[in-house]
Symmetry: C2
Subunit: 335 residues, 2 copies
DNA sequence: GCCGCATGTTGGACCGTTCCAGAAGCTGTC
DNA sequence: GACAGCTTCTGGAACGGTCCAACATGCGGC
């Protein structure tokens, strides 16, 4: 009644279990008629290999763990697509795990994956405690994708070039004629980087005095509150760059509630080019950080490290692109 | 250099591997000082159990596979939360897999999970080919959550009561005074169910003639196009019920582009109470289908079946609740 | 001092694979 | 027809756990 094993297949095909193993692993050292017999027997019995037994014997799982920090904000979907395409080609499968779901155990969020002895780990997005990766990185390849935290030695980082992306969108606003531009900032390494690049770009154009920075928490609510504060000032900014699309949607609502037309009275721009920004009812100008390509590069890093382990961690930045939609225009509604 | 095993721990603690195994599985048949010695040795060596070896020996993985059909539409996040809370309490871990990602292999999307010998399978959302579950359901418990497809015998189905939910929101619209109400329909069992319930409710209120049904594809684009058609009619509907929130956002845009105020000129309502509908810039009236509870019940079904396998499949419907926000009002903007 | 019984502990078989050394079969050479 | 050198195939030992029957040990009762 229990599932068939290679021994059952071997018996049915009249060969040894070793030969079955050879056939199923695609060896070319097997006579065609034997191969046929084995494959037929396997098919007839509905045999499927037992991954646990295989990985116990091979001492590897052909599986990489993907640690997501929050499924609610689906900016990572394209990244997963990119990851998957290369990993799959490399014969590896992906196992998804949500750090937020496993957090309540009080353990390290990667624990379930590590118990399963994944061959590698991809951390997608900002991690609460990057230092916790150190012992992991000593054993298996670890790649951080889509975030820019400080990581332990030997960990590769792949992300969009936020500095460049923020420069693109800030210069887009400046080019439209905006002089008083505000930024709703975020937290973490990414938030920090985006804020700094915003300030530098403004300074580079001689607009340091027009750069208003307000902290936010990268949520819609935070973006809303920050925008209300900004837009209630006497010297109201004519454009707002939010740290991400979600916060930008909050800013959009704030403008609406204050009776301000977007982009007539105030321009707003987001970051990430999420599905949210593509909704025609929002239609946010934003920055596409080429998540698919980030995913592909992360996969390449991991595959390289699996092939030749060790070596220092590297940093790969993918060039983002400006995505102009409906929420930005010149200060008087021009442009 | 390789990771420590229970034998290493045993040696260090000066006991047999069997005793280590007992201690690590929490047996109370072990003298305290021995237990301490074992735990200390394990800690010092940084021992972690090998899930592959364990599941090979136990003939089970303590893992349930969760098959998602599309990560892009995150309506399932609350459902996963509910699932996780109960499964975790039952000592089971969840393994996520995206059917869309694995589709390109040309194999069954559940294959990777089945190779890993998951103890149970939860299918979240509409599956392309429910009949493919039959051979799986013969071996392990299978639960379909958040969808209403025709399933093979022995599969439990847990979902929101769409019939009731649609009645709630339709009667909300009728109660506001709407007489010409349109429905942007969807596909699959869920789409079908929602459409039928809409028609029945309208008929029940003597409004069969005012019920306009247009097909859509459950995307924003589809909702947009359907709404443009509906709102361009001479006998324009005063309210539109969309099959889900995403399509509703499309309808919202269509109204905006046609110069119609929402909810002044036309009311719109969605379904699912996704994070999208909660954005204050959209603020959709919608139906909350209690996804968290659906997830919990699905977990309960799975746990029950693991305990006592066999028996016919059951259907569990969770009662949804109306979520009134800003996109519905009386026909003249009243209410 | 022996028995019975409960409590702790142990070695060895087993789970379903892969890996490897070597056996078996075949072909060709001298 | 013995032998080397292929190709093809096989049995047994891992892999790292769990499970179980059997073995110590301690202790109260007779």
């Amino acid at each position: 009644m229990r599932p068939p094993t290679i021994r059952d297949v071997a018996e049915r095909a009249g060969v040894s279990k070793s030969l079955v193993s050879l056939v199923l692993r695609g060896s070319d050292q097997v006579r065609p008629e034997r191969r046929e017999a084995v494959l037929r027997a396997a098919r007839e019995l509905g045999y499927r290999p037992n991954a646990a037994a295989r990985s116990l014997s091979e001492r590897r799982t052909r599986t990489v763990g993907v640690l997501l920090n929050d499924l609610r904000n689906p900016w990572f979907v394209d990244l997963l697509d990119g990851l998957n395409s290369l990993l799959h080609a490399g014969g590896l499968r992906m196992l998804l795990s949500d750090a937020r779901l496993n957090r309540r155990t009080g353990q390290d969020p990667a624990d379930p994956l590590l118990d399963l002895r994944v061959d590698g780990l991809v951390v997608v997005g900002t991690l609460p405690d990057p230092a916790a990766l150190e012992p992991v990185a000593e054993r298996i390849p670890v790649v951080l994708a889509g975030a820019r935290e400080e990581v332990p030695p030997g960990v590769d980082v792949v992300a969009g070039d936020d500095e460049h992306g923020v420069r693109l969108v800030t210069e887009h606003l400046i080019g439209l004629g905006h002089r008083r531009v505000a930024h709703i900032a975020g937290y973490g390494a990414v938030g920090e980087l985006r804020r700094r690049s915003f300030e530098e770009t403004m300074r580079g154009h001689g607009l340091a005095g027009g750069a208003l920075v307000t902290p936010g928490d990268m949520t819609e609510e935070g973006g809303y509150r920050a925008a209300v504060r900004l837009l209630s000032r006497a010297d109201r900014p004519t454009a707002i760059l939010a740290v991400n699309d979600i916060a930008c949607v909050g800013a959009l609502s704030a403008a609406g509630e204050l009776g301000l037309d977007v982009p007539g009275d105030v321009s707003v721009a987001g970051y990430d080019n999420t599905s949210l920004s593509r909704l025609r009812h929002l239609w946010l100008t934003t920055v596409d950080n080429a998540s698919h390509e980030v995913g592909r590069r992360a996969a390449r890093c991991l595959l390289d490290r699996l092939e030749s382990p060790g070596g220092p961690g590297s940093l790969h930045l993918v060039r983002p692109a400006l995505q102009i939609r409906g929420t930005t225009a010149g200060p008087g509604g021009t442009g």
